[in-house]
Amino acid sequence: MSANNKKYLIFLGCAVPYRVSAYEISARKVLAKLGIELVEMPEFNCCGLPLDPVSHETMLILAARNLVLAEQKGLDIITLCPGCAGTLKKVNKILKEDKALREQINGHLKESGLEFKGTVTTKHILQVLKEDVGVDNIKKAVVRPLTMLKVAEHNGCHILRPKEYIGFDDPEDPQTLKTLIEATGATCLDYVDETECCGAPSVGVSDKIALQLARDKLSHVKQVDAQALITICPFCHIMYDTNELRIEKMFNEVYGIPVLHYPQLLGLALGMTPEELAFGELRVNTSNILKQVSEGAKQNEQ
């Protein structure tokens, strides 16, 4: 499929605008450069996932509302948050397949004049980059290969699981993010327990367990001397970047691992500046890798 003229409604969800604007800024710039047009949707609400633990029905209704709003616009949805993508995908599938449940949810939606029909699809940005833009087109668009960087990836859970509903990559051995990282020229390192949870959903219930899980990941990434950890989820990013200093203090360890949103890494390879890609919004110091990138680029020119 051509990289051109694909248009999506952008679904921001709660966490991206709440705490991780660098992800949104870099994603918008990278997608525009690669020919993906984003359409704003003024009335989207929370995807529903945060309330699933207390009320599945509420989650279904909130997710269905978003799907209906997209149906009315006649456009598919792109999300930056895997939790939002997973929820909208799952609810779309369930409501299409389960007539009784669809009627029940439509009964609720009727109160606000809406009806679910099941005519749109949802993709996470990773899926859009892979399927709509294509790895080859990304490689062609790279003007500053990041061959000087060795990084590690963290997919997170909801981009992969549960497989039955997400059906995108192999949850036990995911390859998409690795392939997309390598398309920038950077090396993507393997490490222990790559697919382990970041712990974010336990924050607020047991912060201690959540931070233990994040610490495991940071120490595994450090073991292979990765220069940065690349994420594609706002919650995972908060766990590793926003909380890195807190984890270091709690366990009396030093990691100093910069955590980049994938579009920030890609943006560097596409020739954008760290300022354009909102590197200043990141908590962990990124000056070392940015220095290497600019020095590497100079060497390539010579």
């Binding site: 709660c14 604007s21 945060p50 599945h56 209704i61 909130l62 609720h108 549960p162 219930v205 912060d207």
Partner: protein, 189 residues
């Protein structure tokens, strides 16, 4: 933030079982609910627990135990157990269960039932209130919204609280929560 799961709701997963506390019909209620249909296929192999990232660091959270308590009919005990709320919903257990039990969804069903009885951590009440008021699960600070403009980002979607309230007015959890105002959760700091 502190360790939020204070021991007001104690870990009852290890107490001896008394026949008097068994509700033999509970499992039949569960297998009719969306997500826990396959509960009775669980043969207690323990794949869920051994693959669970939370179980590694929790002294009490064991998905296998929770499923066994549920199928045995220890309704009150499982719904009041604080360990129920430790699941991180990573879905590793669901994907790896050799019996295709959607383990994480069974736990979600149990949480929903506990929440119907007013037993759930404060964090969910805050998020629910926020969704009803703003459409978002988190209250996005005004400063953030103003900052978007200076960062060159388009305005945030406004949600539509009136329409959301209409869509949710028939949901029993929402009406219970908004009518009562307070939950039975005693874990508030």
């Amino acid at each position: 933030m502190t360790e939020n799961a204070a021991p007001a709701l104690k870990d009852d997963t290890r107490e001896p079982v008394r026949a008097s506390e068994i509700d033999p019909k509970f499992k039949y209620q569960l297998i009719k609910m969306h997500g826990s249909e396959k509960l009775l296929k669980c043969f207690q192999c323990g794949t869920c627990t051994s693959d669970c990232p939370v179980a590694r660091y929790s002294d009490s959270y064991r998905p296998r135990t929770i499923l066994r308590m549920a199928s045995l009919g220890l309704k009150d005990r499982v719904l009041k157990s604080e360990t129920l709320w430790l699941c991180a919903a990573c879905f590793t257990c669901t994907d790896r269960c050799p019996q295709d039990v959607e383990v994480a969804s069974v736990i979600r069903v149990l949480r929903n039932l506990a929440a119907e009885e007013g037993i759930f951590p404060q964090v969910f009440k805050d998020q629910c209130t926020s969704v009803l008021e703003s459409g978002y699960a988190y209250k996005i600070p005004d400063l953030r919204i103003k900052k978007r403009d200076s960062l060159g980002l388009p305005p945030l979607p406004k949600g539509n609280p009136d329409s959301i309230k209409k869509s949710l007015k028939g949901v029993s959890f929402i009406s219970k929560m908004t009518n009562k105002g307070e939950t039975k959760d005693e874990r508030k700091q």
